[in-house]
């Protein structure tokens, strides 16, 4: 599992790592994003093989997602906008997973300046 808090110190429209590369293959089961920003954020998700960066998809993070008791945290992993990647493999219990080969990482970028707000990411799964 890897979690990250993104604040104003992280520049907008700049790719940053939310799942660091590993020497082992990993199986990703979840990717959640919370935001206490009062405004909507548009985020882009990328896969990085260590050399090349491939954009996967783009989605909106509604204001206060997962932080106000009304708006849920955003299920990035299960989002239909990225299902062509994250929802293509299933284990015997029917749950979707996605293999991250050794050496690959996941990156994200957001598009609107954070002031005193924070975007929080959680990625989790299992290691082969």
């Amino acid at each position: 599992m890897e979690s990250k808090g993104i604040t104003s110190s992280t520049p907008i429209n700049t790719k940053f790592t939310v799942l660091t590369s590993s020497a082992s293959d990993r199986r990703l089961y979840g990717f959640a994003v919370l935001s206490n920003d009062n405004a909507i954020q548009t985020v882009k998700i990328h896969l990085n093989d260590g050399t090349n960066i491939v954009q996967v998809f783009t989605l909106a993070i509604p204001a206060s997602s997962g932080t106000n008791g009304v708006a849920s945290a955003v299920d990035v992993f299960g989002n239909t906008l990225g299902e062509s990647v994250f929802q293509k493999m299933r284990e015997p219990n029917g749950l979707a997973y996605f293999n991250i080969p050794a050496g690959w990482s996941i990156q994200m970028e957001y598009n609107t300046t954070l002031v005193s707000e924070t975007i929080t990411t959680h990625l989790f799964g299992e290691i082969y």
């Binding site: 293959d25 548009t42 882009k44 896969l47 093989d49 090349n52 960066i53 491939v54 954009q55 996967v56 998809f57 783009t58 989605l59 909106a60 239909t80 906008l81 990225g82 299902e83 062509s84 990647v85 293509k88 493999m89 299933r90 284990e91 015997p92 029917g94 996605f98 293999n99 991250i100 080969p101 690959w104 082969y128």
Partner: protein
């Protein structure tokens, strides 16, 4: 047909980026040849930052010749907008006659790429400086 079970082990993934530095109507490898191992493909996704739609063609290549599989429209800003999903080329009905014919024990479609084979793609409209096509192919290796 094998007479014993062969299981997949390691996952694999290959990403490709097309830009103004690549050429329209030219076949590019999006899954390079593995000379040793057969691979099981579970997904082929395309994202576009192009301001216009693209028409892409997919080909299988046996090491000597290319064989076209299908042609697909990539809407503008696929996977680059909060309202347009990245394109599930693997699950598209246009390529279902090839990619959707085998299923694993969990009911999930896969397609076997024999050792020595690769997958190629071509797009039909030149990309400008700020535009790109991003392709991911992923699955598991019978290793």
């Amino acid at each position: 047909m094998a007479t014993s079970l062969t299981f997949t082990s390691a996952g694999f993934m290959q990403g490709s980026t097309f830009s103004s530095a690549t050429s329209a109507n030219t076949r590019y490898d999006i899954l390079s040849t593995d000379a040793t191992y057969t691979r099981r493909i579970y997904g082929l996704s395309v994202t576009s930052t192009d301001a216009g739609a693209q028409t892409v063609k997919f080909h299988l290549h046996d090491g000597s010749a290319s064989f076209q599989i299908f042609t697909l429209n990539i809407p503008l800003n696929s996977g680059n907008s909060t309202t347009v999903a990245s394109v599930d080329a693997f699950g598209s009905v246009f390529g279902a006659s090839v990619f959707q014919k085998q299923r694993d024990a969990n009911g999930v479609p896969y397609f076997n790429i024999p050792a020595g084979w690769k997958i190629q793609m071509e797009y039909n409209t030149a990309l400008l400086a700020a535009e790109g096509l991003y392709v991911l192919v992923f699955g598991e290796t019978y290793a």
